[in-house]
């Protein structure tokens, strides 16, 4: 399989200073990188697709590195992550599932390790569709302050024979988190859950 054909890359960085409550000394930052690529399997049922996961790894790494750069350049500042895919209408949901391995691998690699499963969302949709990409703490899925999501989308993508691949990262939990649960400073960090 040839390397993924990229039409467009969109980077989004949000700096959140408050949401009606006391502003923290350091604003929360969240970022997303979206790559619009050609779907090599569009328009037909292809039984063997798993090989494309390896082809996506370099793209995933490039996206993860761009994300870290967009958040200031320090991998240690990253606390939350997530991933997602929007498959154009000539493709199938399973094509979006190809992103699970390379997307997760890329962020762990770029962050120098992360224990928690990377939460994800995917769907088949048309240009301008929005995807709520779930986000959780990178080392412990149960950290309640870091349950979040970032809405992303590209106005002219995915076209029918394209896939939008998304990675998201944040520098912290919700801006005024206060509903209890496991705290980031209480993480044991062995099983990726707590």
């Amino acid at each position: 399989m040839p390397e993924p054909q990229i039409r467009k890359i969109l980077t989004v960085v949000e700096e959140i200073r408050h949401e009606g409550g006391p502003p923290p000394s350091v604003p929360l930052r969240r970022a997303a990188v979206l790559a619009v690529i050609a779907n090599p399997f569009a328009g037909r049922y292809e039984p063997e697709i798993a090989g494309f996961m390896d082809d996506l790894k370099p793209l995933g790494l490039m996206m993860a590195e761009r994300l870290i750069a967009a958040l200031g350049g320090d991998p240690k500042a990253v606390q939350g992550y997530g991933k997602g895919a929007i498959v154009g209408q000539a493709g199938e949901l399973e094509h979006g599932a190809l992103w699970h391995v390379p997307g997760g691998y890329a962020m762990r690699e770029a962050l120098g390790g992360a224990a928690a499963i990377v939460p994800s969302a995917k769907k088949v949709a048309g240009p301008g569709a929005r995807l709520d990409v779930p986000m959780t703490h990178i080392n412990a899925s149960y950290v309640r302050s870091h349950f979040d999501a970032m809405e992303v989308g590209v106005p002219d993508a995915p076209r029918a024979d394209e896939i939008v691949l998304a990675l998201v990262m944040s520098t912290g939990g919700r801006i005024h988190a206060r509903v209890g649960g496991l705290k980031a400073e209480e993480i044991i960090g062995k099983d990726g859950l707590r």
Partner: protein, 194 residues
């Protein structure tokens, strides 16, 4: 009065392929958006001077954020535009006060020169609504290859008592321009038009 900023978002879009053709170097557009409190939400206020001051203050910040996100020197910026979306408890005139009287000068400083008028759009709307920022060449409004727009949206803005203020800057025109008209290399650059 200084703007009370709740959130800042920066978008960078890089187009590498269009209709199967490689775009080398890729065309790039950036937009910076500030979500601010509308000090006049819910009431009629005759004197909008405080919003004009906010426009002046924000525009330099947003223009610089765009240039920084593109990683270019200010002189390398090619086109620009501005837009505002007022939340439902505000009036269109609030957007006009921010965008028109004083926003131009600091933006022109951020992109160096800028003889052409800054194209603009405004509307009233709610959270998640798209805002299309018109784009035109910064030194000659008639350069046809640079007529464009960039869509931005933020899922939780503008709330009823907020205003979304957006500036877009590019380092290029459309990906495959071929509808003729004045070319960028033909600019005289005296009147801001040609």
């Amino acid at each position: 009065m200084s703007a009370e900023i709740r959130k800042l978002a920066v978008f960078v879009e890089e187009t590498r392929r269009e209709m199967g053709r490689e775009i080398d170097p890729p065309t790039r557009k950036a937009a910076a958006v500030a979500v601010i409190a509308n000090p006049f939400a819910g009431r009629y206020v005759e004197d909008l001077e405080p919003l004009m001051a906010i426009g002046e203050e924000l525009c330099g910040l947003l223009g610089r954020k765009c240039v920084e996100a593109l990683g270019i020197r200010p002189s390398e910026a090619e086109s620009y535009g501005k837009a505002a979306m007022v939340g439902e408890n505000g009036e269109l005139e609030h957007a006009a006060a921010i965008l028109h009287p004083r926003l131009g000068k600091p933006l022109r400083e951020a992109v160096e020169k800028g003889a052409a008028l800054v194209p603009s759009s405004k509307k009233r709307g709610g959270p998640g609504q798209p805002l299309d920022i018109p784009l035109g060449h910064k030194d000659a409004a008639y350069v046809r290859s640079h007529f464009d727009a960039m869509e931005v949206r933020i899922c939780d803005a503008p709330r009823a008592d907020e205003i979304m203020v957006a500036v877009a800057v590019t380092d290029s025109g459309r990906p495959l321009p071929r509808v003729g008209g004045l070319q960028a290399h033909e600019i005289e650059g005296r009147d801001g038009l040609r």
